[in-house]
Symmetry: C3
Subunit: 347 residues, 3 copies
């Protein structure tokens, strides 16, 4: 694609150093750039590659400063407001959709006669679709998936290989469920008996996954004890995440890998939860909360802002405490000296 | 079901505010209560709903105090010793068993001719049952499950979809194995060679899961290097839990999601281990130990009690340390002031 | 096997207490040793069993000291430089290879006509092999595995049950992929739109797994946004590990269970990363770094050595800080006393 046509399509503010005949044929990382390649710099750590890349064009921010440079040929600079977003558009242009399933129902799938599968849906080999299931238009069910009885899956969804979706679950449109992810398994609810044995509380609730949700691989999203576990519109979950029974995740909330939310906790909308974070049960977070990696959230968070630590604190308090902690060995020395001086004073 | 009949069945101590003709038809969360519903209050956080719920009846504790209330109609109160336990009984009454598998062996299952499957067992589509496997009465093997050669599974077990149970494993009666859980994979044992390469130690031990154990989804329970990894009677494991080679979990021990136990560690009976906890290898915990969320246990625990932190400490010590830590910025100020006062004193 | 023949095969330095006619028939843990058994002591914690074991022979280190002992019969001691390594060799001698798959392609596997499968490869029931896939000599694909289009798997690999390997992935020779592990799922890359919605960045890169890599069960190894995620030769990953998009793991690096590496981070060669560790994105570690359990690595590590804590610090600094922290309650008391003394002084 011609450089100026491309610049137009990705919302460029300005194009620098182009003769106008440059052709972009593919996308690469900046350190791997070769002739024909389009790259981007979304993070200052990658600016150092700008003088060595052989890419044809590089998407940069408005404020990017080209360093002095003795190279034979500079790449074209495409300035944009958000290089990451512009590169996302470029990736869509240069990458065809990956289709891995044939049309229709594979001969080796086990589809119950009581299931309703849209004609435009695709069902892979060794998938199991139970009685009473409804599957919407253009939805793809990959090989090895299990869908329990009476579950409803909307249109344009992708259920990845070996995912398990139990009975009576409701999934909206344009939902992605990652490989080996388990949705609607019984919540972890037991009552201790007098003899020490834990008796199971039947988990008779369900899971509702709203439209436009994307869930990673090897996640577990448990059904509610009663009522529902709800993942609201636009939520993005990375891999290996635990969502316990009766949890609610607010609209457009994002969680990174290996985090977990304990039972009945309500996470607000537009939260950003980093990796390996834990939220205890029966708490709430308000909208627009950011929680740093490996934090442990033990109380409700009622004010928007950034929190981190174990237990999680407000950003400013946490930084102050971390600084104080680092100075602790020195403080011990200072106290020792004070003690000695006081001793001398009194002698 | 009539309110008094129900009260009798769930072991009520007292019924308050009933005319005697009330009918309960289903169970809900208290905030979702509608006419016909039975709810419960197991946690003081939910008491606030008692004045707004439209439920017919609410299970409460002996000591629950009904707040002053101007509503048109109060729900019937069913007082019990343990509202959670009573509600568990009620859930069983109002929820039919969820059966998702047809009787017998599905035509799309691959059952080896050398396997012994009880006539009352159910085997789902696309399950693979290897040579020498024994499966007991009423056991359900869901679609996509793999059972390796010579493994024995008792009666009344449920092996959920896409779970993997390797060769030579022994599973007792009434055991639940969650979806995508892997039992009996090789333990993580390597020896560093002089050239930096890690050579695998063959893992020739096994896994034994005793009666009445329930294991969540996406867990990994490795086989022993030699001898066995053993999960004792009544253990309950949540999702995404790692149990390494040669670990032993004591009777009725409960572990929450995303926790892990490293190799050869022996966890005592009736332990309660919260979420995202790690126990290092080659240690032991005694009976009746409680470990708080995200703790790291690096030494054996020989006294019953509550522990938390990183590294985990006794409850009282950990709280004291946490309080001391919070006061650290103030302590730094106090030391600074002492230094200044001493300076003045000497001047 | 005769004791002297065995000693020769496992590289013994010396054999003590043997009549020469002893026969070893199997291997056990030292606490389970019975006549005919070979055991080992690789860890001082197990030395206490030496006087009670009924094993025929025990592998010990050069420096092991036999305690005074009134037992009827002592086990033969086989002294070696590395008992763990010697026992590894013995395990190989006494344990036949576990073969769980029949030769050839199972009748219930779905192998696309456009796939190239070596004649000596084994494909289990309910496996799905897509168009354009190449599978090398002696490679075993277990039941329920999904291999996406155009993926290449080398020779002598084992892909365990219900593992998922997406399209366009490259896997070398002698690679092990654990059960329910997902390789090549889309990386977690989104761009926030002005309305709060997160738009997906197409993930058009791939995953390369070099020769001799072993990956545990329920791991997730994401494909790169562009370019590749690379797991280098000899890497060993335990279970439930997250490797994000564009990560590189250096040669012979070892990671224990439930650890995770965020996007674009490069881990050096011969690193040892303990369990439940997190590494943030866009950082690097040099060669020969050791990171303690549950640590959080937030900055690049440029010097070999041992690190731990949250955030991770050098071993010496971390220990000093931990000691300082433990003495904090006492320090508070000392400051209080100083304040009182100074008050008296001035009075």
């Amino acid at each position: 694609m011609n450089i100026h046509e491309l610049a137009l399509k990705i919302g460029a503010l300005q194009v620098e150093g182009a003769s106008g005949t440059e052709e972009v044929t593919h996308t690469t990382a900046i350190e791997d750039g070769d002739p024909g390649a389009l790259c981007f710099i979304g993070n200052p750590n990658y600016e150092r590659y700008i003088t060595s890349t052989k890419a044809t064009a590089v998407i940069v921010s408005e404020h990017f400063q080209m360093p002095e440079f003795n190279g034979v040929k500079q790449p074209v600079l495409i300035r944009t407001k958000s290089p990451y977003e512009a590169f996302g558009l470029a990736l869509e242009i240069f990458s065809p959709k990956r289709t891995q399933l044939d049309k229709g129902i594979h001969g080796d799938a086990a589809v119950h006669s009581g299931a309703t599968v849209a004609k435009t849906a695709r069902i892979g080999a060794h998938a199991t679709i139970s009685d009473g299931v409804t599957i919407g238009d253009n939805t793809e069910i990959y090989p090895g998936v299990f869908i329990g009885p009476n579950t409803t899956i909307g249109s344009d969804c992708v259920i990845h290989p070996n995912a398990v979706i139990y009975d009576g679950v409701t999934i909206g449109d344009r939902v992605v469920v990652g490989a080996c992810t388990v949705v609607g398994f019984d919540g972890f609810g037991y009552v201790p008996m007098a003899n020490g044995f834990y008796k199971k509380i039947p988990q008779v609730g369900t899971v509702v996954i709203e439209d436009d949700v994307e869930i990673g691989a090897c996640c577990t999203i448990d059904r509610a004890t009663i009522a529902e576990t709800r993942i609201k519109r636009g939520v993005r979950l990375d891999n290996l995440i635990q969502i316990a029974h009766n949890v609610e995740l607010g609209e457009n909330t994002v969680m990174a890998a290996q985090s977990g939310v304990a039972g009945s906790t309500k996470v607000g909308r537009q939260n950003i939860i980093a990796g390996q974070v834990g939220l205890t049960g029966h708490i709430e977070t308000t909208a627009n909360v950011i929680i740093g990696a490996q934090s442990g959230v033990s109380k409700s968070i009622t004010k928007p802002g950034t929190y981190f630590g174990y237990p999680a604190k407000g950003h400013r308090e946490a930084l102050k405490l971390e600084g104080a902690l680092r100075s602790l060995p020195e403080l011990i020395e200072r106290v020792k000296q004070l003690e000695e001086e006081l001793k001398k004073e009194r002698a």
